[in-house]
């Protein structure tokens, strides 16, 4: 096929008007021909900036060259040296800020479509039953990993490859963490992609025990004591949803994005025959501008609602991946930007009837470097909605820190860990959202990877 060197090979997607009514994956992805064509655009830089942009340092030119040659299995083995979840990352990483953001091609034209190529390679490997390489020697030591989200899975996978006996403890009834409860099917298919990547990690010898809440069912001291683990990695994720503290937030019809998405994704409430209910809304306001807000908005849209994103800053400040914002707009989500809720209105029975907002304008930059939104006096207005979904981030869950003596937390109650994940407790490492607060899948994976290396070094002494 012909390739314009300045442009990405276009990726096939479901048409917006079709996908707005189903939960099938939005992006169809590259086929082999398209992926190989895109690979020809790689300049194979001597000093590849893309690798520096990757939190898990995948040898990107390495796998792209294999792909270019048509050696897909070889490409997969290159990726799996660095990433345990390539089919996930190819779908959910904010590539425009990482690998693709650094791609030299991007200076004059469009960056290489690294995410889509990664996705193709991982999907091909899964469909052709290619597995990551197993550990050659056993270390005879045990590591417990808390949480089976991206951070825990990555850490567990790397440790298993290094020869450790790894057990993951998961609080929910299903493994995957945010990959199963948070990110919707239309962005990350569960059975086809997530479960298969988890199977691969189990295939490395990792044991996953669901229904175990560390801090409640068992403590870290017990894991390191009578359970005989030599080290523990805490990848327990973000935690408690934030609300705004405005009037009306406990009205019937106000949900955290975590609740709404957990009902839909983990409990499959989007399917008609699900045992777990979800509110059938007519008009929904989703408050927030991150990936979680986009996921909640696009879920509500697919469940039949008219949906507004209410975000207090402007378009360029939206923290969500560019692709998600683009897809949301295509599907008909309305963006009420520079708008901040001040009250949730209730009818006489206590159900949501509207959301009162105020217009904002951007003032001086704040501590985050982004221009701080300030209220425009007298600009209050109301959007009539029957549902409000709060997607404002989370604060750390105290279940582990409050039951583990000597485990330091910071002012925000995040677990304190150094750059390799070492905490204030001997033999205890941590990473991902439990340490950083809510961030991305790939940063959590990066932390899991770094910690796995540090745990290996610690246990090899």
């Amino acid at each position: 096929m012909e390739v314009d060197m300045m442009k990405k090979v276009p990726v096939r997607e479901q048409a917006p008007e079709v996908r707005a009514k189903n939960f099938e994956e939005v992006c169809i992805g590259y086929n082999k021909e398209e992926a190989m064509a895109e690979a020809t655009r790689c300049l194979n830089c001597k000093n590849p900036m893309c690798v520096q942009g990757c939190p898990v340092s995948i040898n990107i030119p390495g796998f792209v060259q294999e792909l270019k040659e048509g050696n897909i299995e070889g490409a997969y083995q290159v990726i799996s040296l660095s990433s345990a979840l390539p089919a996930v990352c190819g779908r959910v990483c904010p590539q425009e800020r990482q690998c693709e953001g650094k791609c030299i091609r991007g200076i004059k034209g469009e960056a290489l479509s690294i995410g889509k190529m990664e996705r193709f390679v991982a999907d091909w490997a899964r469909e052709n039953n290619v597995k990551p390489t197993l550990a050659t020697e056993k270390k005879g030591k045990k590591v417990a990993v808390i949480g089976s989200g991206p951070s825990g899975l990555t850490c567990a996978g790397d440790l298993a490859k290094a020869g450790y006996d790894v057990t993951i403890y998961e609080a929910l009834h299903k493994a995957g963490g945010v990959l199963v409860y948070g990110i919707p099917e239309f962005r990350l298919p569960k059975e086809k992609v997530v479960e298969k990547e988890i199977e691969n990690i189990k295939g490395l010898g990792v044991d996953i025990e669901t229904d175990v809440i560390v801090g409640k069912s068992i403590t870290i001291d017990e894991l390191l004591g009578e359970e005989g683990f030599d080290a523990v990695y805490i990848g327990s994720g973000a935690g408690l949803p934030r609300f705004m503290g405005i009037p009306g937030e406990n009205a019937n019809g106000v949900f955290s994005a975590n609740e709404y998405l957990t009902r839909s994704n983990l409990m499959k409430a989007y399917q008609d025959d699900s045992k777990t209910p979800i509110m059938k809304s007519k008009k929904v306001a989703v408050v927030g501008g991150g990936n979680v807000a986009m996921d909640a908005a696009r879920t509500a849209l697919r469940l039949g609602a008219e949906v507004h994103i209410v975000y207090r800053r402007g378009e360029s400040e939206l923290p969500a991946r560019a692709e998600e914002v683009h897809h949301a707009k295509e599907e008909g989500i309305q963006f009420d930007l520079l708008t901040n809720p001040i009250e949730i209105l209730e009818d006489d029975k206590g159900w949501v009837s509207g959301i009162k907002c105020i217009r904002m304008e951007l003032g001086e930059p704040d501590a985050s470097g982004r221009r701080k939104p300030v209220e425009v006096a007298g600009s209050e207005f109301t959007i009539d909605v029957d549902t409000v979904i709060m997607a404002l981030g989370t604060s750390p869950n105290p279940l582990i820190s409050s039951t583990t003596k000597g485990l330091d937390t910071d002012k925000k109650k995040c677990i304190v860990a150094d750059e390799v994940g070492k905490t204030s407790r001997d033999s205890v490492y941590a990473g991902g959202d439990a340490v950083t607060g809510a961030a991305t899948v790939i940063l959590a994976m990066g932390a899991g990877k770094t910690a796995a290396k540090a745990i290996d070094e610690f246990l090899s002494k």
């Binding site: 609080a171 009834h173 609300f243 406990n250 955290s256 206590g350 869950n397 279940l399």
Partner: protein, 280 residues
């Protein structure tokens, strides 16, 4: 998978299950709850622990068939398995974590309504094992739905009252408590009340008038039970609390009852449909 070691119907719509749950039985305390899923498609159902045995590694739950998911669970028999039992969740009751010598000084009354008898039993039994025998008021609509009578008698001073007077005293739990205090010279300074929300609301109104500090165990809608979803939020003293991690027990006087009851009705139509489907 969690094995059902025993199953027994306690009345026409309430059953007891003894579950093989080694990890939970090792660490749980009265006041805490578990979340149960009957099968792979099941809803997550929060249930307050009714009893546990650390040696036999079991946890006992008592369930009322009030909705589709509990009807589905009731179809499981001894020897079969429940897909998931996770816990212990929430905080134990203060009575089991406070200094026991201080607890012994308290004049405690428990008030249980219907299914609430089960979690109350767990607390009364624990206190009895620690040298405290408390008064217990158990309320039921009629004689045939009183549960755990013999078990409760063995560990507490039991007062049964039925709405229709078919057994024990006549009237609701509020009447019983009022009579005990005003007519029968009983003195209490601590009350734990567990039952339907409407009953807890009115009982705690009375107990406040009687000057009895009252704790209630809230049973709001929940999903994960670990603090992640916030479905279970309750206004307590003007602050939003998550029943799953901050509770489930709260100071009754501070609870916004009307809001809590309203929030229980969030999925009523879906719940009614699910119940019909499960009964078929």
């Amino acid at each position: 998978m969690f094995k059902i070691l025993e199953k027994e119907w306690l009345n026409v719509n309430t059953f007891k299950m003894v579950l093989d749950a080694p990890m939970i039985s090792r660490s749980c305390l009265p006041g805490q709850f578990v979340i149960v899923r009957t099968d792979e498609e099941g809803e997550r159902i929060p249930l307050t622990i009714c009893d546990y045995d650390r040696e036999k590694k079991t946890v006992t739950i008592v369930v009322q068939t009030i909705g589709g998911s509990t009807v589905e669970m009731s179809k499981k028999e001894k020897g079969e398995f429940l897909a998931d039992v996770v816990g212990p969740l929430g905080r134990p009751t203060d009575l089991c974590t406070d200094d026991i010598e201080e607890v012994k000084k308290k004049k405690i009354v428990f008030v249980a309504g219907g299914l609430g008898t089960a979690p109350v039993y767990c607390q009364v039994k624990w206190l009895h094992e620690h040298g405290v025998t408390a008064d217990v008021i158990v309320g039921a609509k009629t004689k045939d739905i009183v549960i755990l009578e013999e078990e409760m008698k063995a560990v507490g001073n039991l007062y049964i009252t039925t709405d229709d007077g078919s057994y024990g005293r006549t009237g609701m739990v509020t009447t019983c408590l009022e009579d005990l205090v005003k007519k029968e010279g009983k003195e209490y300074d601590h009350c734990v009340c567990i039952g339907p929300m409407i009953m807890m609301k009115f009982l705690s109104k009375l107990s406040a008038e009687l000057g009895i500090h009252t704790i209630v165990s809230m049973n709001p809608i929940m999903v994960d039970g670990t603090g992640m979803c916030g479905a279970c939020r309750i206004s307590v003293g003007g602050e939003t609390k998550f029943a799953c991690v901050d509770g489930p027990e709260f100071d009754a006087e501070l609870v916004d009852w009307d809001e809590a009851m309203r929030r229980l009705g969030l999925y009523k139509p879906a719940e009614a449909a699910a119940l019909e489907a499960a009964k078929k």
